[in-house]
């Protein structure tokens, strides 16, 4: 094993989606963010967790999302298909706020060692950003109110920063003990896992810092850490993450995203 990625029969996006799908526990509620998280939730429900209850900020509770999925689309009839209930945004935020949502899944542009994420802007001047993104969307509520947040990030060095340009949605804030609780955020919540295109992280219970716990099977821990500006903790034993299975790839490519607009092509 060279440490560098080898030839693959899957894309990095496919890898992230499959990894996320495997982490979703069945018979739990999952607040699904825009983009990749939507595809991960669909895949999970089709393959591993048929009885998860997906919830969306636009008011759908428990849909069995119909496919194919169209990029940038949320809230259409396919997204809302066979729901248990159709409600509204304030109801969904209330549902998360009052403790009913087990998981949240979000993407982001930047992350810091304590799992704080940026999806707002790059640059130092808020009024003249170098690069502007969408902003929080429902992400701030998801990261604040769901019990466990799963984050999905492309593994690029510039995305893993000691200090991010803008904290859009909260991780463990400054990492001090009970920093979230002291800020007023609900007790016992916070980032749970970070999924990247080559690795998986959790958060150390004592320090609340990101900790490498597994790598894609063709990647070494050293390679992972080299490709991050901040240095994460590294677990004593590192698991190896299996590549997407033929089943996962078939469903992704044939049912969910046949035009490969999101998942890309190898």
């Amino acid at each position: 094993m060279s440490g560098k990625p080898t030839e693959r029969n899957y894309t990095e996006v496919e890898f992230m989606i499959c990894l996320a799908a495997r982490l979703i526990e069945d018979q739990r509620s999952v607040f699904v963010g825009y983009g990749m998280p939507q595809i991960a939730a669909i895949l999970a429900q089709k393959l591993y967790a048929p009885r998860i209850c997906q919830v969306y900020e636009y008011g759908a509770i428990g849909p069995e999302v119909a496919t194919p999925f169209r990029r940038n689309m949320m809230a259409d009839a396919r997204n809302s298909y066979r729901s248990f209930a159709w409600t509204t945004m304030n109801t969904m935020i209330a549902t998360a706020s009052s403790g009913y949502i087990d998981y949240g899944i979000l993407g982001a542009a930047q992350i810091d060692p304590f799992g704080n994420i940026n999806s707002t802007m790059i640059g130092k001047d808020y009024t003249r950003p170098k690069l502007r993104f969408t902003g929080s969307g429902g992400g701030n509520e998801v990261a604040s109110l769901c019990w466990k947040t799963i984050l999905i990030m492309e593994h690029e060095k510039r995305r893993f920063l000691e200090k991010i340009d803008f904290v859009t949605s909260p991780g463990y804030l400054d990492g001090s003990e009970q920093a979230r609780e002291r800020a007023g955020l609900p007790r016992g919540t916070g980032p749970h896992r970070v999924i990247t295109s080559i690795a998986l992280f959790d958060f150390d219970a004592a320090t609340r810092r990101m900790r490498l716990i597994a790598t894609r099977e063709d990647i070494t821990p050293e390679f992972v850490v080299e490709n991050m500006e901040f240095k994460p903790l590294v677990a004593p034993s590192i698991d190896r993450l299996k590549p997407p299975t033929p089943d996962e790839l078939r469903i992704l490519r044939e049912e969910i995203d046949p035009e490969r607009v999101v998942i890309g092509r190898v």
Binding site: P129, G135, V167, G184
Partner: protein, 318 residues
């Protein structure tokens, strides 16, 4: 502790008086053209709110009319948005955006990066909550989101101690938009409106807003409304104008009725520079005089195929 963001503060008592004096409880015929509705109810400098997004049951025909009438200096509530803010920014209508989800499109992000448009960051949830506060006639509502983040710092929210338990909690101020534009499935001439499917905050938005323009896929009778009051989303007195706009959400979808126009959306998204965007606007907004002309431009055949291609119907009727 207060966020630094500029707030379109509104006084709950002044808002109440507006609702009393300007949104009548008289059940009168409010049907008018989109030209008249926008001319009467959308003014330069207004705070504007819409429901859902350009991709799904969005008030696209009204947004195009706002661009066509060249409104200026609007302040948008982008609480769940996709093309909406981009379209209105491209049309030169917008000076400020309360973000939620800013939307998609290079045009929009460039306008923010160059300072042409000022943003104030919130979140989708806290913007929906600000509308709920307006709808409830209270000056603020509490939330346990925003806390601890830069989103809070740049918002206009405050952190206070809960007087019951001493815990910190975030307060967001009520918003009373000058005008809301909402696309619905069905509506009677008085403004009793039905939405089928999930949604963002149509009721809160209509209650909080000083004027409300509803565009509707079809007009139904008040008799029908009265036979099934459990299906009414907006009671008539919330609504200022009713505009008949079949396919009003095009190029987006109205779930259960027609699917989105994939090719048209791609055309919009591919307009990544001012020149291409101008071409888009010239063709689809300035180049037509009304929503009817717009539909003629899109073509009957295309519209029919969008209806046929919406495969899911269950749940989207009274």
């Amino acid at each position: 502790m207060s966020g630094a963001g500029e707030v379109r503060l509104s006084d709950v008592d002044a808002a109440r008086e507006w609702m009393r004096d300007n949104k009548s409880r008289a059940p009168v015929d409010k049907v008018m053209s989109e030209h008249e509705a926008v001319a009467r109810f959308v003014h330069d400098g207004d705070y504007v709110s819409y429901d859902l997004s350009s991709m799904v049951r969005g008030p696209m025909s009204l947004e195009r009319e706002i661009v066509r009438q060249r409104r200026k200096n609007l302040w948008l509530a982008a609480k769940f948005t996709l093309l909406d803010s981009t379209l209105l920014v491209a049309g030169g209508c917008v000076s400020k955006i309360d973000v939620g989800f800013a939307g998609l499109g290079r045009t929009l992000f460039s306008a923010i990066e160059t300072g042409k448009v000022q943003v104030i960051d919130w979140s989708n949830g806290t913007l929906a909550l600000r509308h709920l506060a307006g709808a409830m006639g209270v000056p603020f509502l509490p939330t346990r989101a925003l806390l601890g983040t830069d989103t809070f710092k740049h918002s206009g929210a405050k952190v206070v101690e809960d007087p019951f338990t001493g815990k910190k909690v975030c307060l967001v101020p009520a918003i009373h938009p000058n005008v809301a534009i909402i696309h619905v499935n069905q509506c009677d001439m008085f403004g009793n409106a039905r939405i089928f499917g999930p949604s963002i905050s149509p009721v809160e938005t209509a209650m909080a807003s000083k004027s409300v323009i509803v565009s509707t896929e079809e007009i139904i009778t008040t008799e029908e409304i009265k036979k099934n009051p459990g299906r009414t989303t907006l009671p008539y007195y919330l609504v200022s104008a009713v505009v008949v706009a079949p396919h009003g959400a095009h190029p987006g979808t109205v779930p259960g009725l027609y699917t989105y126009d994939s090719g048209h959306l791609d055309e919009f998204f591919s307009a990544r520079d001012d020149a291409t965007m101008k071409k888009y606007l010239d063709k689809y907004v300035y180049g037509v005089k009304s929503h009817d002309e717009y539909l003629a431009l899109i073509g009957k055949e295309k519209l029919q195929s969008l209806r046929e291609n919406e495969m899911i119907r269950e749940g989207y009727s009274a």
